[in-house]
């Protein structure tokens, strides 16, 4: 469940950064259309790919339930962090990307 959580959190952060308003607020730079596409694609890919570790660890029925749960919780966490600790929200996303391969190794 940990890997799925890390991937979902990073995925939602990417999707969040692909919107003009949040990109400006968080990174203080203008969003180019190329980067927007990349972030959007990467975000969706991460969210969907997170099904894989969840199902691998717990089987289809339980895995899908866990995926839904971490999907909701990671989004909730991100949205609650953004207004209060925007830097922490970004750092966490970076950390989850970095920690994902480690968690993947532990899973396999």
């Amino acid at each position: 469940m940990l890997l799925a959580l890390l991937m979902c959190y990073a995925g939602f952060t990417a999707l969040c950064l692909s919107t003009d308003r949040h990109h400006g607020e968080l990174l203080h730079s203008k969003l180019t259309s190329k980067r927007r596409l990349g972030l959007r694609l990467g975000g969706w890919l991460l969210l969907i790919a997170a099904i894989w570790p969840a199902v691998l660890a717990a089987g289809w029925s339980q895995g899908l339930v866990e995926w839904c749960a971490v999907l909701m919780l990671s989004a909730l966490l991100l949205v609650l962090l953004l207004p209060y600790r925007p830097r922490l929200a970004l750092i966490l996303a970076g950390l989850s990307l970095l920690a994902s391969p480690v968690a993947a190794l532990a899973l396999s």
Binding site: L15, S61, E66, C68, A69, M72, L73, L80, L82
Partner: protein, 524 residues
């Protein structure tokens, strides 16, 4: 035309949400607590000690106890201890005249010593579980009312989605410290982000309720009442009747092991023995509900109790049973391990918060119009009183329930009923208090009382039992420790809410009125 439709939906959302909001808040909060019903029961019956699990020992202990106490009973039921609920529960039904039902007697045994535990009489977490769909009303009325509430909730969810214009654009948006705007943001955020849970829980409750209000097989709700057990026996009426020849029952452990082999290592929840002292004894081994997401109501392996011969393995459930069982399983979350259970709990709290913020927004919007006049119109005052009593009042009532559990003497007559009385008396008093105090003061005072009551619960536990935090943490009794810590956290949260409220009240007259933002909000 399109705008007209959306306005109609917004109207429906507003009024359906208001009328049922208070009830739904209570249903959601108590239902959320019911995810930890076994843990709550464990806390409320501290006499039942937690031991490392050993099903073989538990079964042997239960069998020898029942052999001594009820050798001629019509049937025995053994519920094995779990990491959530450490008590070994045994129950037997006396023989009765044909056509009558024998009385049930239940005991909780210590799974190591085999002696009955004199646990204090308490409804435990079962109270919250029962309340969230029966609402403490006589038989079908509470279930009907909660069914209607669930339908209204479903309507409110759908109309809410239609009304919310910018689901994707505002997906990540939460702007705190902006008064009414923040409440709406918060309402949208917990609504949209946890929407899959809200839809699942509401829809599945309708599926479950439909079978509850119509007498259908899924009626058997897991619980400690006799009816649930009786229903679980239903598929086993093809077990042979007693012949009247006494015969020794075989040890249950080999049958338990054989059943687990049948399920490829699945877990056993409960063992039922029919005609235990008879040559025609039969043993039904029920699979634990925690094994799969899809709840299977009759997953059993049956044995002949005197020869040990395997009689029957229940087949694969039919497709409708799988669909119904998945909704039931998803709603109940029996299958969830500790982490997923906490996620369920958080989702439940998010649902509660969504309802609470909705109620606050309704009032906040209308209060703005009357900000200048000294007296609020009666209907707004009514909503305010009900808001306070249904939210902070319910918190106080829950805390009072726990306090009563520790303060009422163990030998008190009808003790578990008095715990429930304490819950409703505290709730009633909070309603009275909300009527007497002016809005904001009412909020601050009730939130503070709730905070005090919850923060003090670990202390109260330490003073009245031997299971205080130090002990439970050392023993790895996570259910007990988790309860104390959660109460502490809830108390801190309520104190924070009270403090925010208090600060707003103090700073309001000058600074905020100057900005024209009077009476922005009420806390939930």
């Amino acid at each position: 035309m399109k705008e007209g439709f959306r306005q109609a939906m917004a109207w429906l959302h507003t009024w359906a949400g208001l009328i049922f909001g208070w009830l739904l808040f209570a249903i959601f909060l108590t239902g959320t607590l019911a995810y930890f019903k076994d843990e709550i029961t464990h806390w409320m019956q501290p006499e039942v000690q937690a031991h490392p699990l050993d099903d073989g020992r538990s079964l042997a202990v239960a069998q020898s106890y029942l052999q001594q106490q009820a050798p001629t009973a019509a049937s025995w039921f053994i519920s094995l201890p779990t990491s959530r609920d450490p008590g070994l529960s045994v129950m037997w039904q006396d023989k009765a005249e044909p056509g009558k039902r024998g009385t049930f007697i239940q005991k909780i045994l210590d799974p190591v010593s085999g002696q009955p535990v004199q646990a204090r009489d308490s409804k435990g977490g079962e109270f919250f579980y029962r309340f969230h769909f029966q609402l403490q009303m006589p038989y079908p009325w509470g279930r009907w009312l909660s069914t209607i509430a669930a339908m209204v909730m479903f309507v409110a969810l759908i109309t809410g989605i239609i009304t919310h214009k910018k689901i994707f654009k505002d997906f990540f948006t939460f702007r705190p410290r902006k008064g009414q705007r923040s409440w709406l943001d918060g309402h949208n955020a917990v609504g949209v982000l946890v929407l899959p849970f809200h839809l699942m829980i509401t829809y599945s409750s309708l599926v479950i309720f439909m079978s509850m209000v119509m007498p259908a097989p899924i009626m058997a709700s897991y619980g400690d009442d006799s009816r649930a057990f009786f229903k679980e026996l239903f598929p086993n009426t093809d077990n042979p009747p007693a012949l009247g020849q006494p015969c020794q029952l075989l040890p249950l452990l080999p049958m338990y092991q054989q059943a687990r082999q049948q399920w490829a290592g699945g877990h056993v929840g409960r063992v039922a023995v029919n005609n235990p002292g008879d040559v025609n004894a039969s043993v039904n081994v029920f699979r634990a509900g925690s094994d799969s997401v899809v709840h299977d109501f009759g997953n059993t392996v049956s044995f002949n109790g005197t020869t040990g011969e395997l009689l029957r393995v229940s087949g694969e459930p039919s497709l409708p049973a799988v669909v119904g069982g998945s909704f039931y399983g998803l709603h109940m979350g029996h299958f969830a391990g500790p982490v997923l259970r906490w996620l369920y709990f958080i989702c439940g709290l998010a649902g509660t918060a969504m309802i609470g913020t909705g109620l606050v927004i309704w009032l906040g919007k209308r209060q703005l119009k009357h900000a200048k006049s000294a007296v609020m119109p009666f209907e707004l005052r009514l909503v305010e009183v009900l808001n306070i009593a249904s939210m902070s009042g319910l918190m106080i009532a829950i805390a009072a329930f726990f306090w009563a559990n520790r303060l009422l003497p163990v030998s008190f007559a009808a003790r578990s009923d008095w715990e429930v009385q304490a819950f409703f008396v505290a709730w009633g008093l909070s309603l009275l208090h909300a009527m007497l105090r002016r809005g904001r003061r009412g909020w601050v005072e009730q939130l503070s009382i709730g905070a005090l009551l919850f923060v003090a619960i670990p202390l109260l536990n330490a003073m009245t039992t031997t299971q205080h935090l130090g002990v439970s943490l050392m023993n790895g009794d996570w259910a007990m420790a988790g309860f104390d810590l959660t109460c502490l956290a809830s108390g801190v949260f309520l104190a924070w809410a009270a403090w925010k409220m208090q600060r707003r009240t103090a700073s309001q007259p000058k600074a905020e009125r100057a900005r024209g933002l009077t009476l922005k909000q009420e806390a939930g």
